[in-house]
Symmetry: D2
Subunit: 322 residues, 4 copies
C-alpha cells in the first residue's frame, strides 16, 4: 500500500482517497475510542521494559512558561501560572491565624494544545465525522462526548523509537518547508539500526524546536512554516501499524502544506481515518543527544495524559527511559 511522495498530487482528492484506503473505522469494534493505541499488547509493554538498561530518564515536556504561542492559531494562549498562596504571605504571618500552616498553592490555566501535548482523536474531523464514524457534533462546549483523551489514561505506555531525521541528514535543523518522506523515515531508521514495529510510539525529530530555543525566539513556530511529515507518510503510518506519531514541531506535518486546497491535509487523514494519537511540541534535545551518543534509538516510553474527561488533548511531560 506504500506510495512514494512523487506519486501523490496532494489535494482534496488525495485526502479523500487516503481517508478511504487507510480507514480504521470499525477495526476495533463500533465502540472503540482509542484507535491505533489498540496495537499495543501487554506483551509489547513487557518487552519494552527490557529497554530500560541504564536507568536514565528523559523528560520530553517543554517548560510551561515557554512563550511559544504568539497569536497564529485559534485563540490559544501561553500557560498562565498564578499563585493562590505564597511564602511571602507566610512570612508576613498572614496564614498563622487563619490557616495554621505555612504553605504555597498555585494554579495553571492553559490550552491543552499550547505546549507539549497529546491530541485526542476528538481533535480533528473529516467533514461531519470523527474517528470511528462518530458525529463531530458530539464534540461541543461540554467537551468531547466521544474520542476524548480520558479513554487513553492508561494506554500511553510501550516501546518508543526516536527517528532523528535532522541528525541523519547531517543538519542541526531541517529547513522550514522540508517534507519528510517515507523514504526519509526508512533511511533514518536504517541508519539508526532500529526497526519500526507494530504498536510503537514513533517520535520524529526535525530540530526546528531547538533552532527556536537557540535563537531565543519562537517566531512563527506556532502555526507558521516548519519542516515536517509529508502527506504520503499517512500511508507509512498505516502500513507500519504504529501506535502514535510524535514530533518536536507544532503540528507534525510540513508547512507550508503540500496543497492549498486544505489546511493540514495530513491531519485530515491520520486522526479521523487512521485514528492515530498524535504528540506535538515534544522536547527532544537531550534524548536525541543521548541516542546519538550510545547509538540506541529505542526506549521504554510512558507518556500519560491528564485524566481530563471530554478532553480534546492534554498537556503532558512524556518520559523516555533507557
Amino acid at each position: 500500500m506504500e506510495r512514494s511522495k512523487s506519486d501523490i498530487q496532494v489535494g482534496k482528492p488525495a485526502i479523500y482517497e487516503a481517508a478511504e484506503k487507510l480507514s480504521n473505522w470499525g477495526r476495533w469494534g463500533p465502540d472503540d475510542q482509542i484507535g491505533t493505541l489498540n496495537f499495543i499488547t501487554p506483551e509489547d509493554i513487557v518487552a519494552a521494559s527490557g529497554l530500560i538498561r541504564r536507568g536514565k530518564t528523559f523528560a520530553l515536556g517543554l517548560p510551561l512558561d515557554e512563550k511559544l504561542q504568539s497569536g497564529l492559531f485559534g485563540g490559544r494562549w501561553n500557560p498562565i501560572h498564578t499563585m493562590l498562596a505564597t511564602g511571602t504571605d507566610a512570612v508576613a504571618g498572614n496564614q498563622d491565624e487563619t490557616v495554621g500552616l505555612r504553605y504555597a498553592d498555585d494554579a495553571i490555566n492553559l490550552p491543552c494544545q499550547c505546549s507539549t501535548q497529546w491530541d485526542a482523536l476528538a481533535h480533528i474531523f473529516l467533514d461531519d465525522k470523527m474517528y470511528n464514524g462518530y458525529d463531530a457534533t458530539l464534540v461541543d462546549t461540554n467537551g468531547a462526548g466521544k474520542n476524548g483523551i480520558e479513554n487513553t489514561v492508561s494506554r500511553m505506555v510501550g516501546r518508543g523509537v526516536l527517528l532523528d531525521v535532522a541528525r541523519h541528514k547531517g543538519v542541526d535543523s531541517l529547513d522550514d518547508g522540508y517534507a519528510i518522506t517515507n523514504a526519509d523515515l526508512d533511511a533514518t531508521a536504517a541508519a539508526h539500526g532500529v526497526e519500526i514495529r507494530r504498536g510503537d510510539f514513533v517520535i520524529v525529530r526535525t530540530g526546528q524546536q531547538e533552532r527556536c530555543l537557540a535563537q531565543g525566539d519562537w517566531g512563527t513556530y506556532a502555526g507558521g512554516d516548519a519542516p515536517g511529515l509529508a502527506f504520503e507518510t499517512c500511508y507509512w503510518i498505516h502500513e507500519k501499524e504504529i501506535a502514535a506519531i510524535c514530533a518536536d514541531t507544532w503540528g507534525c506535518e510540513v508547512r507550508p502544506n503540500e496543497t492549498e486546497e486544505a489546511n493540514q491535509p495530513w491531519h485530515w487523514v491520520v486522526i479521523p481515518a487512521i485514528g492515530i494519537t498524535m504528540g506535538e511540541i515534544f522536547f527532544l534535545k537531550d534524548l536525541a543527544a543521548d541516542c546519538a551518543a550510545d547509538g540506541v534509538y529505542e526506549f521504554f516510553f510512558c507518556g500519560p495524559p491528564l485524566n481530563l474527561p471530554g478532553g480534546c488533548g492534554s498537556p503532558i511531560n512524556p518520559q523516555a527511559i533507557k
Copy 2:
C-alpha cells in the same frame, strides 16, 4: 530512631523536635531541590523495570471533573474545562473558510492541588524556611524560586509499593480520624509480603476516596476529617529512606490532626525538613483490586509532573505498571 505512636505527644515541641532530628538539609548539597527523590538510583530504575511482568497499566489520576473541592480550603476550585473550538462549530461550517480544517480545541484551568497531584517541596514551610534552608519568601506571586516541581520532571520513576492498610485491616475504608501508625505500615507490608526499600514510591490506601465515590458525594473530603498517617510516621518515612509518600486522601495525614497547636503537623516536618515529595488524592481502586487478586504489591511506577517552572505542585496521572 523509630518511635512508637504512644511515645509522641503531638504539638509544637514534637514538631520542632522531629524537624530537627529528621532534617535532610544539606544531605545532598546546598543546591539540592529534590530531597528524597535523590534516593532513587539508576540501578533502582533498572531493577524496577523487572516488575513489569504482565504488561498491565493502572492510571492513578482521578478524572478532572470530580467535584471534590467544596470550599473548605484556600480558595481552590474544581477543574474548569472550556472549549476553544468544537465539532458543532465545524459542522456549522464556521471553520471552513477561516481555518480550512475542522477541529476542536480546549483548555483547562485548575489549581495544582485540586485533584491527583504532586506537591513540590515549595508547597510547605517551617517558619520562614523551606526544604534545604531556602527562604520561604523565594516563593512569591512569580512562583517558587526554589524547590519548584520543575526540578522533578524526570525523577518520578522507580519502584512503587502499595500499602493497602484498609484491606489489611479488613475494611472497605478506614474511619475518618483513624491514625495509621508505624506499626500499621509495617504490619501491612508484612501481610502483603512486600519489603519497603530505599527510593520507593510508597502509596497508602485508606479507602476513604472510594467511600466518597461510592456515596456519590465528596462531602468534606477536601479538608475535613479523614483517615491518614499518624504524626509518628515521619520517623518511619525518614528511617525507610523512601523517595515519595502518596495516599488516596486529600492530605495524607490523619484529620482531625493529633494536636490543635498546628494544622497538619506532619506536613510541617515531612516536606520542609525531610524534603519528601508527597502525592495526594491518588485513585487506587483498580490497582488495589489487582494487587489483592495476584498478591503482588510492587510495580514499576512512572508519575511525571507537568514541567511547570516555579510550580508548587502539579496535576498528574501516575502510572503503576505490573
Copy 3:
C-alpha cells in the same frame, strides 16, 4: 394587545404565538443589534438627568465573591480572583530589584452570567435564530458574531424605574413559584405613583435575593425555584416599549416555569423576538429601602457593560442615581 394571565395556556403554541405577535425583527432595520435599547432617545437621557436631585448613588452590583453559583446550570463557576503581585511580595523586598516599584496586581475570571449581569441579545435563541433574524450559528466558540454586548457599550443610560413588587405586596420576599402578572406590575407602579414610559430601564424586585443573603445561603438561587415574571409579561413589556427589564433574581422569570414544554418559556420570546436586553441578579436592597423612604421610584440609570466584543453578556455594577 395586552392579555391577562388567565388567557394564556403557556406552552409551545403560546411561545410561538407571542414570538410572532411581539417580534421586533426589522423594526430598526435589518442591521440592528440592540433591539429595544433603540427606544431611548437623547431627549430621554436629558430628561432623566433631571431625576438626579439628591446626588445619591446606589450600586446595584452584587459583590463578586458571593458564592451563588452552586452547580445547577451550565457549568458556570463563581468568580475567581487571583493575585499577580502582592503587598507581601513588596514588603519581602522581592519587587525592589526586579520592578523598582512596590505594587499589587490581580486578575478576575468569571462567567459573564455568574452574578449581576446584562444578557446580550446573543444569549438566547428561538429555534435556529436570534434577535432580528440572525442565524444562531453566528454565535460560536469565537463569540457572538452578531448581537454581542459590545453593541451596547454606550446605550445603557436613561430613566430607571423600580417596581418593588414584594414591598407593594407587603412581604419581605415573594414566594418561590409566585408569578408576577401584568396586573401586579401595573398595580405596583400605581402604588408607587410612578409611570412606566417608553425607553425605561424597568427593575423588578422580588426580595428573593435578600432572603438568600439574610439566610447566608444561596440554596438553589441559581436555577432553582424563584418568584418572577409570568409569561404574560412579555405582552406588557412589548406594549410598554421599555428598553430593558431587570430583576433581583437569577433569571427574571418565575420558576418552576408555567409549562413543562420549555425551559424558561418567557426567555424564548423576550430576547429573540422582542430584542430586549435583560438584567439579572441586581442587588436592590439599598435602592429599594431608599425608594420606600422617599417615595420616589424613578432615577437616573447608568449601567455600562464591559466592552467585550462578541460577549453574550457582561458582569456589571449598574448605578441608580437619585
Copy 4:
C-alpha cells in the same frame, strides 16, 4: 504649594518630600479607604447632572480584545473570552434534551490592569505602607484587605473634564517621553475654557493610544516609552483637590521616567500619599472629537468599577455623558 517642573530634581528625595507634603493620610479619618473620592459631594453630583444637555453618551472602555499586553510588565495577559455554550451547539440540537432552552454563555478571564481600568488605592505602596497608613502586607494572595476597589462601587460619579493636551499642542499625539507639566495642564484648561474644580474626574489625552490604534500595532504601549504626566503634577493634583486622574496611556505618567532611581516615581506619591484613584488606558478618541467640535470639555461622568471585594483594580467602561 505648587512647584514648577524645573524646581524639582526627580529622585528618591523628591519622592519622599512630595509624599510627606502631599499626604492625605488621616484627612478623612483613620478608617478611610477611598481617598480623594471623598472630595465629591452630593451637591457636586446634582450640579454635574446639569452637564447632560444633548443626551449623548461616550463609552471610554477599549474593546477587551485589544492585544495591548505584549509581555512588558508583570505577567499580565490579554483578555481571554471563552464560550460555555454556543449557537452552534444549539442548532446541532445538543441543548434541546439536556437544557430545554437554546442559549449561549461565555466567560471572561482578565487581569484587572490589562485594559481600561481603575487602580484601587491598594495597587501601589510606598515602602511598607499603602494609602492612609495601612500595612502593605494586608494585600496578599487573598486580595486587598484594605483599600480594595469595592469601597468605590458607588463613588465613581461626578463631573468629568477632558484636558486634551495633544489637541491643545496642535499634534495628533504627544511624543513618547514628553512630560506634561503643570503649566501644560493649566494652559490646556484655559484654552478649553474649562475650570478644574474640587472633586473632578480629570481625564488627560495624550493621543498616544490613538497613534497605536492607527498604526494597528500596540508596540511597547504597555510599559514602554510614552508621553505622560510630569512628576511635578502630583503637586497640581493635590492643590486642585480633584477626585481622580485618568489618561489614555498605560500608566498616566511619562516614560522614560524623569529619574532612574525609581520606577514610576509619580505613582509612589499619588496613590499611597495623596490617595487618588487612577484611571488608565481610557479610550478618548470619540469624546475628544466631540469636545473639539462643540467646545464643551465638561460632562457628567459615571465609571462604576465591578464590585470586586479585595480588588486592586477593576476593568471598566466609563461613560461620559454630554
